[in-house]
């Protein structure tokens, strides 16, 4: 049984603003084993990016623990020992703004090398070349600026930057959401190859369930700061339990009849996604839930588990699965 690379225990991140407390992440727990890919799926306000940034240390947690390879790192990154910054890396969503438009690709890729003194035998330039080779980009790209290359290639550079410090865990925050489908295919292929070669563990954040069907080892759905459902991929898609999961699945536009048949019966979602400042009482999803019961507006459900590692948070399953 592979070791646990990352474990979140009841992680909470609240932001205190003039308009109220934003409970961006409100008691998130999961673990990811070595060489696994956990797909974290949710819409706006779900808190998936907050969870990612807290893991990275961009935010410090309000409550709860983050364990990395068994060690507690539950604080902001400036308070963490430096070597964790090498091990945990991130690829951001928008390649246009995750690469400084005023710095050349060489300068961008050199930064992590310089900070962690990774120069190898030939100096920084040679290391940068090696990184570009690893992601199958020509070495001449070193001298280009981010806006001179396409969105897909920028994202590949962002991946190369994440690999520069030889990490073991990478958070991918919607890395392909802004890209075309053929470019996405190339990047996903690259990510999966790299995962094999370099023994990487991924936390893949996205709203694209079809993508997770093909890439994730396990899938978790988040809504307004809490996890609704989490299960291994095949099991998850075979029997989606939470009403929100079923709505998500039925809204996906697909391209073939076989896929249509796999989707749950078309359920139209109602209403807007509430803001995390105004979380509805009881179960946060009850206002939009087609299966709402009386208890749902009063009591927040607990997470219950089924065999095969399938967990769900919903009153429908209170009496066990």
């Amino acid at each position: 049984m592979a070791a646990e690379t990352l474990k979140l225990i009841n992680l909470k991140k609240y932001f205190y603003t003039k308009m109220g407390t934003v409970k961006a992440a409100d008691g998130v727990s999961f673990s990811i084993r070595e060489r696994e890919t956990l797909g974290l799926v949710g819409e706006s306000g779900s808190g998936k990016s907050t969870v990612a940034y807290t893991i990275l240390g961009i935010y410090g947690p309000t409550q709860g623990n983050i364990l990395f390879k068994g060690q507690d790192i539950s604080r902001e990154s400036k308070k963490r020992p430096k070597h964790f910054k090498k091990e945990i890396q991130i690829v951001f969503q928008d390649p246009g703004s995750s690469l400084n438009p005023r710095r050349s690709i060489k300068q961008i890729l050199e930064l992590p090398l310089r900070v962690h003194h990774i120069s190898g035998n030939g100096g920084f330039t040679e290391q940068v070349e090696k990184l570009l080779n690893m992601v199958e980009l020509p070495s001449e790209y070193m001298y280009k600026y981010p806006l001179a290359i396409g969105g897909g290639e920028r994202q590949i550079v962002a991946i190369a930057r994440a690999l520069a410090t030889n990490p073991s865990f990478i958070v991918l925050d919607e890395p392909t959401s802004a890209l075309d489908v053929s470019v996405q295919a190339k990047i996903i292929g690259l990510l999966m190859e790299l995962q094999e070669e370099l023994n990487l563990t991924y936390l893949f954040i996205t709203h694209d369930l079809s993508l997770m069907r093909n890439m994730a080892t396990r899938v978790a759905i988040m809504y307004l700061g809490k996890i609704c459902e989490i299960a291994p991929t095949v099991e998850f898609f075979k029997s989606p339990l939470h009403p929100y999961t079923r709505i998500l699945l039925s809204s996906i536009p697909v391209v073939s009849r076989e896929e249509e048949e796999l989707k749950p019966k078309k359920i139209t979602s109602r209403g807007e996604i509430p803001s995390p400042v105004n979380v509805p009482p009881g179960c946060s999803f009850h206002l939009r839930c087609p299966e709402r019961m009386d208890i749902c507006s009063q009591v927040d459900p607990e997470i219950t588990g089924k065999e095969k590692g399938h967990w769900v948070r919903c009153h429908l399953y209170d009496k066990g699965l």
């Binding site: 990275l56 890396q89 995750s98 900070v115």
Partner: protein
């Protein structure tokens, strides 16, 4: 090794060519650049370019005093018989020097403070720096300059110091605004996550993204500083006679309007050209520094 050097050079040359393309797209920018180039050359080479360089100092020739523009003196002469054109060329020296000195001192200070305050927005550092800026901004600029100049002896040097003192806060504010919004961009987060230090982030990640507005402001400011310098001289707090200075010349010449109009008008037109030239040049520089997407 030699191959990389030539490759490097050719890349830099490409960059230069591309910048020129962006700059020259608007023909006005070239006009502005030409005007400024001419003025700067006249300033530097005034002793050679001016037809009567000695008129720029103490010189008196009452036979040729107050002559309207003619072939010998294209801009006429003033009440002391000094050639106005030559004095204007020497006057450019003071103006350009004023502009260069003030901005060289004020801009770096203001920019650095603005960067630091912007990046550390929300902390005590931000508060201290920006309140300090507020103090300087609260005093009306000309009043501040006049006060400083009156306390110290009126001279070119003191005028420059006074103007510098009231100039830096505007750079600070401008850069503060830009820096505090850039610090939330992903690429800054990416650098922080990697473990880059504050100095690197401020000067290498954030600052390059401020170049556009900074250089545009610098070129516009040149015109403004020169104007304010002339205003100080106009009230007698800058260059002292007989040093030729555009502002002083306009002040002195004002007494003789409208009969001997050339004594005030030509220096005034010269001031106008400097400001106009820098303004247009500023537009061109802004175009040149734009980062474009493919």
């Amino acid at each position: 090794m030699g191959k990389t050097k030539t490759a490097d050079l050719s890349r830099r040359w490409e960059k230069v060519k591309k910048s020129w393309y962006k700059f020259s797209k608007n023909p006005l920018s070239i006009i502005g650049a030409t005007i400024i180039l001419i003025i700067v050359c006249l300033a530097i080479f005034a002793p050679f370019a001016a037809p009567y360089p000695e008129h720029a100092g103490s010189f008196v020739n009452f036979d040729e005093a107050s002559m309207p523009p003619n072939l010998k003196h294209p801009f006429g002469t003033d009440v002391f018989g000094r050639d106005i054109m030559s004095r204007i060329f020497f006057g450019f020296r003071f103006s350009i020097t004023m502009g260069v000195v003030v901005i060289t001192l004020a801009a770096p200070v203001g920019i650095t403070l603005g960067l630091i305050a912007g990046y550390m927005k929300g902390t005590w550092v931000d508060t201290v720096i920006m309140r300090l800026t507020d103090i300087f901004v609260a005093v009306p600029p000309l009043v501040l300059a006049l006060a400083v100049c009156s306390i110290l002896t009126p001279s070119v040097f003191n005028a420059m110091m006074a103007v510098t003192l009231m100039w830096w806060p505007w750079y600070c504010r401008m850069v503060y605004g830009i820096a505090s919004s850039i610090k939330n961009e992903f690429f800054v987060q990416a650098a922080e996550v990697t473990g880059a230090g504050k100095l690197h982030i401020i000067f290498r990640e954030i600052l390059p993204n401020c170049y556009g507005p900074i250089f545009t402001k610098i070129s516009l400011d040149m015109g403004w500083v020169i104007l304010i310098g002339s205003a100080l001289s106009f009230v007698g707090l800058g260059a002292q006679p007989p040093t030729p200075d555009l502002g002083t010349m306009v002040a002195d010449g004002g007494k003789y309007m409208p009969d001997q109009w050339w004594i005030a008008i030509f220096p005034a037109i010269a001031i106008m050209f400097i400001v106009f030239g820098f303004n247009i040049l500023g537009d061109g520089i802004r175009d040149m520094l734009e980062v474009e997407e493919v």
